[in-house]
């Protein structure tokens, strides 16, 4: 009569007595969730009440949250947003490849590679030192104005190029952090097997480095997904620009809200995914180390 189940039976079974800790833990969990839920609801109600009862609200509502205007502007904004998405996807692919190349060049060792390394460092320093919007203006208006033969004159082309260059400089540093996080012994053992520096990077260091920086890269995704809207200053009709045009003719800003909603629709899931992935990765690492 010394094992748990028979004791439970004796006392009327697990339904009455139950294991000593689990239900209490579950109860506490439920309670915590209830408190979190209640406080969130209270917070939202108070915030909404404060906004909706303020004197300025009717005017704001008319200017920013007008349903009729929303319906009128939405197709234009959506069309522009589609362009945002296309720009984002194209730029991201180029950035991931281009910045990896820069990071790998920066990680080469030995005096022979000094000029390449120096170029990579100068590129990163210069580009990171210029505001993105300035780079877009400089390339978007500057290069077409040069009227060079054979060079594209499209604002879209140069706007995207500016974004790609700018983000590549940052992303290259993310990759480099990843490359440096791989222990030196990995490089050494790859080299000892006769692999060249390039082969060691490609087959041994970079695959491990990328895995280490995926959360940081995803974070960059979210950032770029919104920053593509900056090309609107070149007159490119993406979502925010469409909202702008609508506002200019109607004096109603509901289009901005529509654009904001569309951006959120994409960026929030990516942010959640990033968190989920980071969490899973950390748990995996912990389970390996124990």
């Amino acid at each position: 009569m010394n094992d748990r189940s028979s004791l439970d039976e004796f006392d009327g079974g697990p339904g009455l007595l139950g294991p000593p800790h689990a239900p209490r833990g579950r109860e506490e969990g439920t309670r915590a969730a209830l408190i979190a839920f209640a406080s969130t609801v209270i917070f939202i109600v108070v915030a909404l009440w404060a906004i909706l009862t303020s004197n300025a609200w009717p005017a704001v509502q008319k200017q920013f949250f007008n349903w009729d205007h929303f319906v009128a502007v939405f197709p234009e904004v959506l069309g522009g947003f589609w362009l945002d998405i296309k720009m984002f996807l194209f730029a991201e692919v180029v950035i991931l490849a281009f910045s990896l190349m820069i990071a790998m060049i920066r990680s080469l060792r030995g005096p022979a590679f000094f000029p390449l390394r120096a170029l990579a460092i100068i590129f990163i320093d210069l580009i990171r030192g210029i505001p993105v919007i300035l780079l877009i203006l400089l390339l978007g208006f500057g290069v077409p104005a040069l009227q060079l033969p054979g060079v594209p004159k499209s604002a879209l082309f140069w706007g995207l190029t500016a974004l790609i260059i700018s983000y590549s400089a940052y992303t290259a540093e993310v990759y480099r952090a990843g490359i440096e996080s791989v222990h030196e012994s990995q490089r050494m053992s790859a080299r000892s097997l006769g692999l060249t520096q390039g082969q060691a990077l490609r087959y041994v260091i970079v695959p491990q480095a990328i895995r280490n920086v995926i959360p940081a890269l995803l974070n960059g995704f979210v950032s770029l997904q919104k920053d593509v809207a900056l090309v609107l200053i070149l007159g490119i009709r993406e979502a925010v620009r469409e909202a702008d045009i609508y506002a200019a003719s109607t004096f109603n800003y509901t289009g901005y809200i529509a654009a904001a909603l569309l951006f959120l629709l994409v960026s929030v899931p990516v942010a959640r995914f990033t968190d989920w992935y980071t969490d899973r990765d950390r748990r995996k690492k912990q389970s390996v180390s124990t």
């Binding site: 012994s185 050494m188 006769g194 692999l195």
Partner: protein, 249 residues
């Protein structure tokens, strides 16, 4: 007189102010097994890394089959292809399974077709009792298994010189024997080996020549019987006495 497999002449190496190798000379004949003993920091590991050209030497020459491998203009990758090195910390590639770890260098460096490289790798794994582990990832293997895979990985490129850098120091005691047995097996097939080790019993059994390193110098060298039974230098006597006192010999 035949050309030795490996020869070091007056090798010096310093890291900053600290001199780790001081005028080291060594001759390793074909099919010889040389064990380097000495306390931690005496320069054993650095010596092996210098031979593998992972650490550049400051002065002196290292000859492999009579050719100077420390001369400028030598293709270091070609030199490294001709020898294998195994490290204390295994250093398997964690993102690759056992088979890919072993076949990476044959495929990418030596241009062996994947099928051939894998067949050969499987043969080696079977020879060393690891055929069950072909598709496992390193973190699923015991330390001893990882180190045996590391030995196989180094052997896969068919080197005729193997360097072992304290390969059992990071292992649980009960796993040491399986790795040492692998090295004994290599001696039986006539592999030329330079082994840095703290396993004195093993060194005595397996070595043709034992070198005692102290503060970057080869203080004393000779057949194991001579070094372990009648060491000449007071430092060697002191070192061995401590090992005996610790019950390790």
């Amino acid at each position: 007189m035949t050309t030795p497999k490996l020869e070091l002449r007056g090798v010096w190496k310093a890291f900053g102010d600290k001199e780790v190798l001081r005028d080291v000379g060594l001759v390793v004949d074909h099919h010889d097994v040389v064990c380097m003993i000495g306390s931690s920091g005496s320069g054993k590991s650095t010596l092996l890394k210098c031979v593998n050209l992972l650490v550049p030497i400051d002065d002196g020459t290292i000859l492999l089959d009579g050719a100077d491998i420390t001369a400028s203009g030598v293709n270091q990758n070609r030199v490294r292809e001709a020898m294998g090195i195994v490290f204390q910390s295994f250093n398997l590639f964690p993102h690759m399974n056992v088979l890919d770890n072993i076949t990476l260098s044959p495929r990418k460096v030596h241009g062996v077709p994947r099928a051939d490289a894998e067949e050969k790798a499987k043969g080696l794994l079977e020879r060393f009792g690891l055929s069950e582990k072909v598709v496992e990832y390193p973190d699923r293997l015991s330390g001893g298994e990882q180190q045996r895979v590391a030995v196989i990985r180094a052997l896969a490129t068919e080197p005729d010189l193997m360097l072992f850098d304290e390969v059992t120091s990071a292992l649980d005691p009960e796993l040491v024997a399986e790795v040492l047995d692998v090295i004994r097996g290599l001696k039986d097939v006539g592999m030329t080996m330079v082994i840095a080790t703290h396993e004195m019993g093993f060194a005595r059994d397996v070595a043709d020549q034992v070198c005692f390193l102290d503060q970057g110098r080869i203080l004393e060298h000779g057949p194991p019987k001579q070094i372990f039974s009648t060491p000449q230098e007071p430092r060697t006597q002191q070192f061995l006495q401590r090992i005996i006192d610790a019950g390790r010999l």
